[in-house]
């Protein structure tokens, strides 16, 4: 039988999800897809993650070229369909080609709504809908400083968060009296606003935009109330409108969207529609869950099955803004008299939970601050089960029945939805794991699509693979510290803390082989020191020689002495002392180091304490996994480009942190302007002066690896800049793995998380971090001053030389 020709217009999420379902049924179709966008099908939801720097554009593709090839789908990329002739069953593309179809599927999605105001065509004004928009916004982020997002809905807030991550100052303006007014009640709006402001995003409500001002490029936003704010970037997130032009021109019945029946058919029996472009029972959707529901029904319809019909979807939203948990679903208002509201508010923790009950059934929910229960409520709503006994603990999950029982995912009913985006149930995942012998989360993702939406359910999926696959489960290997102490590093830290182990030997005796080695002994030395904030039991023999004698061992066994020169600043008196010492002790070489200070090379171990005493300077810790130095440029003191006092700030920063041990060495730089003469952007921590403020950058390197630092934050005052540097510094001390430089630490942990736990953390968290730092700092000493007077051990610096004429004690014995 000749295959039927199926033409799909739109290569987006709905179209391809529906095709996936159709292909599962192995139909006799010859499939052709037209895509206006020049890309393979990608996950539009994750554009927010791309903008925020959490994912790269390459990581969000759903289907590769291979998928199209294997399924024999002819794909026309970058080819817009401009006409549908439903009488002759042909379509016409922009490039002038025409194709015949037997069945036509419209999956054209929607387009951003741009309000009719002046100035939206200026340069620097963007919408945020597809990969191209995202690329253009990201390009402009490199030079832009102040962004205004018009629209405080889901999309606007996600865009604002992304721009903030890119180092821009961001204001969100919203027409209504609360953010996300479509998904939140007034109280929820207030909670959300506080959370958003805490991130550092300015929020302006009840603002009606009059026009976007400027010349060729946008310069500001003017409101109807006469007020105005400057902006060199504007992102319009004012809602979406279904793409219905083709359908209308084809003569289909169109209202707000393309009108479809319960089997997703349009008014023409050969034409179907799915996704954001459709209107079903007077509803138009703007989320992915409904389009997966629709896709399944439509696939059945098209392949001749007469299964269940589409009855509409329960709407649920999760805000994908790092640092904020928000979930809203169904009828969340509950203001009609026959509805009951169960609510909980905790302002200090920013937690708001509200459940709407109607005739004994949960019909809506809002969760802010803690959305971990979202799927539980969604499930109750979907099943429409009477609440019954659960009413007693509706807001929080039932207490565990007995100590042995768990609330883990395996104990849930098979019908429970695990992946809310795609609509995959527990039963489906378990079956997939069993039947296909899946061993990893990514295999489950490939097979069932679970966790391929917003990804928040990946943890649950992992639990399920673990439970079903049992011993064959393949986890990413957790690295242990070393063979002598075979425990993961994080776990060791916890054990040392909770069991109050104060010395390296204690740890080795209890958890290790009792001996240790060149790697774990120094590592444990650092950990016990860091965990106990300097109040550990120091064991010199567990330290590397450099840390025993506070100098850097050289290839011939001699040492080098690098005194501290804060910010790279010295003076004649210091220089004279250095010169005198160098002559007196016949130091073979004096060198200017790469770190803006002087190095006396080739010093004998026994001379070290004498040299320190005569120099009277502080140790530069050039030998340790510790704070090395802060390089500075000349800055406003002398430089004609300087915008900030880099010298004074550099010296200050060095004073605040010197003497502290770190997982790996920490080099810092402070520069007065972006010309970056002291190379702050390739330092572990850098402060870059800009007009009216500082950029604080982290994780840079210019050693064996070269890595440009990431922007942690942009702040106005020097105090704020120093605080941000200190927060990151201590966070790295507490979470970095031994020998892990910041340029590995930052990408491993993720910039987003680091921000969330440092500069964007709650005041309590920040105070705690700074408190730890202060305590450790109080214990930090200048080892040169201490040990030139009284070494840690009387023979710390002493070797033994036997005079030539030493008398032997002679014994008669057999060896």
């Amino acid at each position: 039988m000749k295959p039927r020709r199926l033409v799909v217009i739109g290569n987006g999420m709905a179209g391809m999800a529906c095709l996936d379902e159709i292909l599962k049924r192995k139909p006799n179709f010859e499939i052709t897809v037209f895509s206006e966008e020049p890309y393979f099908n990608y996950n539009r939801i994750l554009l927010s993650a791309v903008l925020a720097g959490e994912k790269t554009a390459d990581e969000i593709y759903i289907n590769t070229e291979e998928w199209y090839r294997q399924n024999r789908i002819t794909l026309h990329l970058g080819e817009k369909v401009v006409e549908v002739d439903s009488k002759n069953k042909t379509i016409l593309t922009e490039k002038g080609y025409s194709f015949d179809y037997d069945t036509l599927l419209l999956a054209t999605g929607s387009h951003p709504f741009i309000p009719p105001i002046e100035g939206t065509s200026r340069k620097g004004v963007y919408v945020f809908r597809n990969l191209k928009d995202t690329g253009r916004i990201l390009e402009h982020c490199k030079s832009a400083r102040k962004a205004v997002v018009i629209g405080g809905g889901l999309l606007g807030l996600e865009a604002a968060r992304g721009l903030l991550n890119r180092g821009l100052e961001v204001t969100v303006v919203h027409l209504m009296d609360r953010l996300m007014d479509v998904q939140l009640d007034a109280v929820g709006g207030q909670f959300l606003r506080r959370e958003i402001e805490k991130l550092g995003i300015e929020v302006l409500l009840n603002k009606n935009t009059e026009k976007l001002t400027g010349g060729e490029s946008v310069e500001g936003v003017l409101f109807k109330d006469g007020s105005m704010i400057p902006a060199d970037m504007v992102v319009m997130a004012c809602g979406i409108r279904p793409n219905v032009e083709l359908a209308r021109q084809a003569g289909l019945k169109v209202n707000r969207g393309i009108v479809v029946n319960d089997r997703m058919g349009t008014s023409d029996p050969s034409i179907f529609a799915v996704g954001e472009c459709v209107e079903h029972r007077e509803k138009v959707y703007g989320l992915v869950a409904p389009l997966y529901d629709q896709g399944k029904i439509l696939a059945a319809t098209m392949t001749g099955e007469r299964g269940p019909v589409y009855e509409g979807s329960t709407l649920a939203t999760k805000l994908k803004v790092m640092g904020i948990e928000l979930f809203s679903a169904g009828d969340f208002k509950g203001d009609e008299p026959d509805k009951e509201v169960v609510a909980y508010q905790d302002h200090a923790f920013g937690v708001y939970k509200k459940i709407v009950v109607h005739q004994e059934r949960v019909v809506g929910a809002i969760l802010i601050g803690d959305a971990s229960d979202a799927n539980r409520f969604l499930e109750m709503m979907r099943k429409k089960e009477p609440v019954g006994d659960k009413r007693h603990h509706l807001l929080f999950d039932a207490p565990l029945a007995s100590p042995g029982s768990t609330t883990d995912v395996m104990s849930r009913p098979d019908g429970d939805t695990i992946c809310g985006c795609i609509g995959v149930t527990k039963g489906q995942i378990v079956t997939a794991i069993r039947e296909n012998n899946l061993k990893t989360v990514s295999a489950v993702k490939a097979c069932t699509k679970a966790s391929s939406g917003c990804g928040t359910c990946a943890g649950l999926v992992q639990e399920m693979v673990k439970a079903v696959a049992g011993s064959t489960f393949e986890e990413e290997k957790k690295e242990v510290l070393c063979a002598c102490v075979p425990f993961p590093k994080e776990q060791l830290r916890t054990m040392i803390k909770t069991q109050n182990l104060k010395s390296v030997q204690d740890v080795l005796d209890i958890y290790g082989n009792g001996m240790g080695c060149y790697f774990c002994k120094p590592a444990l030395s650092f950990i016990v020191d860091e965990v106990h904030l300097g109040e550990h039991k120091e064991d010199r023999s567990a330290r590397f020689i450099n840390d025993r004698v506070h100098a850097n061992i050289q290839k011939d066994g001699t040492f080098s002495v690098v005194p501290r020169m804060r910010g790279g600043v010295t003076n004649p008196k210091e220089l004279r002392k250095i010169a005198d010492v160098a002559e007196k002790y016949k130091v073979p070489m004096v060198k200017v180091t790469g770190s803006q200070r002087l190095d006396l090379l080739g010093v004998k171990k026994e001379d070290l304490p004498k040299i320190w005493a005569e120099l009277g300077m502080t140790s530069g810790y050039a030998y340790a996994k510790a704070v090395r130095m802060v390089k500075s440029c000349v800055g406003t003191d002398f430089c004609r480009y300087g915008t900030q006092n880099s010298i004074a700030t550099g010296i200050k920063l060095e004073e605040l942190l010197e003497g502290l041990y770190t997982p790996a060495k920490v080099k810092m730089g402070v520069v007065g302007c972006p010309r970056n003469c002291a190379e702050a952007t390739v330092k572990d921590i850098g402060l870059v002066g800009i007009e009216g403020g500082w950029q604080v950058v982290i994780g840079g390197a210019a050693g064996k690896s070269v890595r440009a630092a990431d922007i942690l934050c942009t702040v106005k005052t020097t105090e704020e800049a120093l605080e941000a540097a200190l927060l990151f510094f201590q966070y790295y001390r507490e979470n970095g793995e031994y020998l892990e430089r910041t340029y590995d630490f930052v990408p491993r942990v993720g910039l987003e998380k680091i921000r969330r736990e440092t500069v964007l953390a709650s005041e309590e968290k920040k105070t705690a971090l700074l408190g730890h730092l202060e305590k450790a700092k109080a214990k930090a000493v200048n080892p040169w001053a201490v040990e030139s007077e009284k070494p840690a051990h009387p023979y710390q610096f002493q070797d033994f030389v036997l005079p030539k004429d030493t008398q032997a004690l002679v014994f008669q014995e057999s060896l």
Binding site: K521, K555, Y795, F800, T806, A808, L815
Partner: protein, 106 residues
């Protein structure tokens, strides 16, 4: 046979699990306090002559401070090959640590 024991350091001069360099004319050895006993080997690592006395002790072996070669203090040989150093007998006599400066077992 006759053994010449040279007193090189007072008991307690070398902290536990550390080493010190001892020179006697042309000879330079690394003397270690392993707690229960003292051990002495040539102070030049078989790799690139690193000063073993400044290494980190691990049981009855030491890791060279320059490139972390692990050298046994019992037989003087690198645990994973790469050569050996001389071993010198060492023992405590009264309040002193003594070393016999002649070639010991390899």
């Amino acid at each position: 046979m006759t053994v010449q024991w040279f007193p090189v350091a007072e008991l307690g001069a070398i902290p536990k699990n550390e080493g010190r360099k001892v020179s006697f004319g042309e000879i330079e050895i690394a003397l270690f306090n392993l707690g229960e006993e003292y051990r002495a080997v040539d102070n030049r690592c078989p790799h690139k002559q690193g000063p073993l006395a400044d290494g980190i002790v691990s049981g009855k072996s030491v890791f060279c401070p320059l490139h972390s070669l692990n050298v046994s203090l019992e037989n003087g040989c690198a645990i994973r090959g790469a050569g050996c150093v001389k071993v010198y007998p060492a023992k405590v006599m009264g309040a002193r640590v003594c070393v016999a400066f002649y070639e010991g077992k390899q």
